[in-house]
Amino acid sequence: MKCTDMEELLSAYANNELRLMQREFVEEHLDICPDCRASLADYVWVRQSLTSLKTAPVEADITKATMSKIGAEEGAKRPIPRLLKPALIGVPLIAAIVVSLVLWLPGGGVGIPIAQAHAANSALQSYGMRGSTTSAQNGTVSEAAFIWEFVEPERSHGTLNIDGVEREFIILGDEQYVRTGDGVQSSGSVVIMSDSLFDVVPSIRGALRLIDSLKDVEALPTEQLEAGEQFQSLHYRGAVDMDRIIDGQIAALDPQSPEYEATVEALDMQRSIKIDIDLWIGEEDYWIRQLKFDAQLPAISSGPQGVEQKGWVSYSTIARYYDFNKPIEIEQPFMPSGELQPGWQRAGGTSSPAPTVTMDGESTGGDVEGSDVGSNTISVRLLLYSGRPDPEWELDKAEAEELIARVKQTLVAETVHISSYPTLGGRGFGVEHAGNIVGIPRWFMVFDGVLVDTSISTSTGWRDTGGVEEWLMDQARQRGFSEALDTCSNQAR
């Protein structure tokens, strides 16, 4: 066994997680190997360092607040039929019944049983989904169809067909794998199940977020969605309360910030976004059965002459959910050797076997190059402020080196004041790495000829003298995102 293969064993040895035979093996090797003794010392140091956090004072007096929230939800949560069960009748429950009646039989408007829907759907272990999304902008229509299965925790498998091009995905935690049909040069990844309001693939988690944001909810007659279903589905219709969302975001801003006014202006422009939702929830189990939404967004472009609207972008999505808690197997796309099966490739993710990037110059930390797979990955996201999912990809070793060199060249250029960011209809690039590439920001944005390290300041950036943006544009085109680039208005400005 080579010493490089010993790392895991040494770490587990330091942590007292080896069986007797493995311990003996490690100890025999340590006797003859000074390098591994040094490695072991490092792992022991890590252990000491991190266990010191155990004794840090923790301020955690949350019992009262938690129990009062549970009490409040409890009143709203239990469906009335359940409260009538004889075993449950007791003095404290009378209060609960009263609360329930108030919530369930309101004077005006009908509320969705939000607490039940959250509780039931958050507890789902697996489900299937199929549906489609149609999007349109300036007469260009795009069709996406999807069929997907989800298994907790955070695993899913499905196919996504966008305008006739089919991709199959396996998603395991933060890692995505993609396989395409014959003859399709697939690149990079498609970001799915993001936390934005729009998902090409609208998971139940996304649907729950929509429920939280609704206003003007009306209850329509219950429906039987499919013949043979045990019971009916409650049908609700409402609209996303953009004002509430935007007001909340404005309230969270710092009025003293130099960007405050511009920020408020940009947010205000987005009040004209319209999203209508139809939702079908199982009458007895509260599982979400079907989701339909229609959205219209203003295509806003920001230029030197100010901000203007150029038409609208629309989305129409319908998704059915089924096979709740049925056993679903999601196979990993690996061969027994650990290599990817033929046809599969990685798509995005944060902990993939990564290109190794060699550091140079002003490194403060020294030895970050080398064998630590995963932590040097640089991922690039093409930010499309159109509501479409952002394409995301990772750089290989040579690309990462090229990008780092260009960023470093840009970081010595003159700084410029940033007065506006891309808004709806615009585009930019977001770049992120795991944090141990020295000398370049961990997160940064590039757009309109400037590079901004948003972790330092959102109002100051560097003039992009290293040509980072141009290079990223080429990268995006090489990966097949030309069309996405062309539909965004601030390109090549």
Binding site: R47, D195, S455
Partner: protein, 181 residues
């Protein structure tokens, strides 16, 4: 605390029985979430949410793992969702309200300062690895228990702890370097 009894009581409508669970686990869960998110206030919010979800879950499902492991699992998912949101916010201009440049407190005792550097370095370790090293080193769980919480094999946990330890050591130096500048 007899957890099985508490679960039975909660199921039969005695909400207050759950108080014991919150009291018992609030410190470890808040501490765990603090180390995953880097923010003690966010940790308290996410911890409350964790207990509420656990409460709701008791009414709905039969967990196939120990109660403690199940709580950590919910907390881990909560932190993961928080990070997703934060990552998105980072890329949405104008909404960058969560990442502040709070000045680092300089006049701490050595130990507290060291913890500060340790905590900061920890945040730079990739999420999957961070979950495993915090559960092991800070929460004192065995690899077997962690595997249950994150839903993977013991071997995968062993790998993540080893990688996470290595990453931690590297970024610790970088963070320390920045501190001394």
């Amino acid at each position: 605390l007899n957890e099985a009894q508490v679960v039975a009581q909660v199921r039969s409508g005695v909400t207050d029985a759950f108080t014991g669970i919150v009291e018992q686990y609030q410190v470890p869960i808040v501490r765990y979430l603090h180390r995953l998110t880097g923010d003690p206030e966010v940790a308290k919010d996410l911890a409350q949410d964790t207990f509420i979800k656990a409460y709701q879950g008791i009414l709905k499902t039969q967990a196939d793992i120990s109660f403690k492991a199940w709580l950590y699992r919910i907390a881990t998912n909560n932190a993961r969702q928080f990070h997703r949101r934060r990552r998105l916010i980072t890329f949405i201009p104008f909404l960058d309200t969560e990442r502040s440049n709070a000045p680092r407190v300089k006049d701490h005792s050595d130990r507290a300062n060291e913890r500060l550097v340790t905590g900061e370095a920890l945040l730079k370790v990739p999420q999957d690895q961070r979950v495993c090293i915090v559960l092991h080193f800070v929460e004192g769980l065995k690899y077997r228990e962690i595997a249950e919480i994150v839903g993977s094999s013991e071997e995968a946990v062993r790998k993540r702890v080893a990688r996470g330890s290595k990453t931690f050591r590297q970024v610790y130096r970088i963070v320390l370097g920045g501190e001394e500048e």
